[in-house]
Symmetry: C2
Subunit: 370 residues, 2 copies
């Protein structure tokens, strides 16, 4: 194998693929990147067996010349470091002896010992089902505004995933750790019905990797989900267990409706963030028509704040919840004025934007004794 | 105790003093800051028993009003967080009940439980010896260009310090980990003779804390060193053991003299930094009149680079040394063209700037077998 490639494009491809490289794999070969040069295209792929990424470079804009076809498998960390450090716009990579690879660029020459290409597992990116297309901005926005709400504990593995339910042309993307819920509805054309749960960290990785490509094609096949955009395919396994039907958790009748300036509320919550009783920061809200009193305390200190409301309807209310969850929810809603809807002090708090009802954030209240 | 203070100035004073607060002290009271309000001045002090810092605020520019004199001792982390978060230019702090402190600013009210002022150890900042004065820029420059060379291991505790030797009006500031040496000579007026070793981390902390104050007064008294600048005093203990006489290590006769562009050499060294045999990155230099060949390798990969020289006199030379030490030394010299002087492949490498001979960097070579 022997090829010449533009540093910038090669580094980009390696950076995308390296997201699938695991540093803690029991299979050492999976800490490598596989590079295949064939038919004037260079395929760069990596996998940690849960997530696999393939990206293909062609000779568009004269960035690639394959002088001799072949395959190499190289430690991802070393290869990335070398390509990053080479001080030259064009890099020449060649197998010089068995698995010994020579990398030339500018005044530098690196050699690095690869692994036999035969030892790398065979990873298929073939899809036999019909994909649907979703706008990148819509997809990334939905992922960013839901994935944070999933669980970081493995006690109920399915809650570490983001649930995607497609029914009648509507796609619901939702995540919960059973104390909070983020629930986003998206309209997608030509979509078939499904109900899957994708590991949240991989979904976030996908949304980060798409870059400025307009849309992404998504296919579900054989307990795996495939994301196809530009010259890249990312596939990841799905979570097996049944995700709870969260749509049932959303109340429709409220006894109190509060509208507040989101910036002002975030500022107030930020002022209490270091006060953590038993590792958690709990904020108590005392709401009436004119204003909100905020209280937070731990064994050493306490905070009292006061803020105005934009409007409030209903009886005065005392309710406590996680200060961090409330901050996360308000940030996800990302509106100047947000609406908090209540059905009593022990019922979930619903946070929404009146202008865009497609996103609902729900937080369970915390019972406080005093 | 009851006082009103400008947030900005109070936060600055707390930030300076908090550098002396230890989070791992066996004496819980040392995780606190002590604040004394008396005679229209506010003294903020902290100590971890190795380093102690005192800074004094007066009513200059109307920043301080002491309504009731007194002392408080408060957890440093909480106090800093609260003062940082308070949304108001002026803050009111008052003892409301025993050790309970109330902090008012803007719409926020915090309370925090302090510690009895009596429980805080008595820390004296009295100096009975005559101080000498050194320009801040000169002092910080000398610290920054030497302290990095000290040891980070406690096997020979004295090498974790920076040695300061004053003799005949010359101050030598030097540090070594026994594999490298940084040696800086500074002219200071009205200085008496001494030979002390200051823990490097505290010396670096002092040089960071001085800010834009022109000069610092330094006094040595009772196995402690005192740094006095602006309204602040920092004192730290000295290291007891005898520091080796490093001036003897500096060779005066050289067999080879090399001048190179420092940027070019740093770029070459950076290209090898990820290649680490046995945790260390060793670079081999093959120098002759026209150019330098650089080689570095570990079990998986190797690097070959080539760079030009500005000038070279002497026989061709092969020498190896730590790539990181060479980088550190070149960065400390901070000149466009640096001079490397050799006395053979097993003798120390001396790195200097022809324009300013006051700083000498020395690196021991590494013996390589191949």
């Amino acid at each position: 194998m022997n090829f010449k490639i533009a540093k910038k494009d090669f580094l980009e491809a390696l950076t995308v693929a390296s997201k699938a490289v695991s540093s803690t794999t029991p299979l050492p070969v999976l800490s490598c990147i596989k590079i295949i040069g064939q038919n004037d295209t260079l395929t760069v792929l990596a996998s940690d067996s849960n997530i696999s990424i393939k990206t293909v470079l062609t000779n568009e804009n004269n960035i690639l010349t394959i002088e001799e076809e072949g395959e190499i498998v190289v430690d991802a960390k070393y290869l990335l470091e070398i390509i990053r450090k080479v001080d030259s716009e064009s890099i020449n990579i060649a197998v010089v002896d068995g698995t010994l690879i020579e990398i030339l660029g500018g005044t530098s020459k690196y050699t690095v010992n690869g692994v036999r290409a035969l030892d790398y597992p065979n990873i298929s990116f073939e899809v036999s089902t019909e994909p649907f297309t979703i706008n990148t901005e819509v997809f990334s926005d939905a992922v960013n505004k839901t994935a944070f709400a999933c669980s970081d504990k493995e006690t109920r593995p399915v809650l570490t995933g983001v649930n995607m339910v497609s029914k009648d042309g509507k796609l619901v993307i939702n995540a919960t750790d059973s104390y909070r819920l983020a629930y986003k509805t998206v309209e997608v054309e030509n979509i078939h019905d499904f109900n899957i749960t994708v590991p949240a960290k991989y979904l976030v990785e996908v949304s980060r990797s798409i870059g400025n490509i307009d849309s992404v094609n998504i296919a579900i096949d054989n307990q795996q989900i495939f994301f196809m955009f530009g010259n890249t395919v990312i596939k990841t396994r799905l979570l097996d267990d049944i995700f709870p039907d969260t749509s049932k958790l959303l109340p429709s009748n409220f006894t109190q409706i509060l509208k507040v300036n989101s910036r002002e509320m975030l500022n107030q919550l930020d002022r209490t963030s270091f006060i953590r009783g038993e590792g958690k920061s709990v904020i108590k809200l005392e709401i009436n028509e004119g204003c909100i009193n905020l209280t937070s305390s731990d064994s050493l200190s306490s905070f009292f704040g006061k803020m105005s409301v934009v409007s409030y309807t209903g009886d005065p209310l005392q309710i406590s919840c996680s200060s961090k969850y409330l901050q996360d929810a308000i940030k996800a809603i990302a509106a100047d004025v947000i609406t908090l809807s209540f059905s009593g002090e022990l019922k979930p708090i619903i946070i929404t934007d009146d202008e865009d009802k497609s996103l609902i954030q729900l937080i369970s209240p915390v019972r406080t004794y005093k």
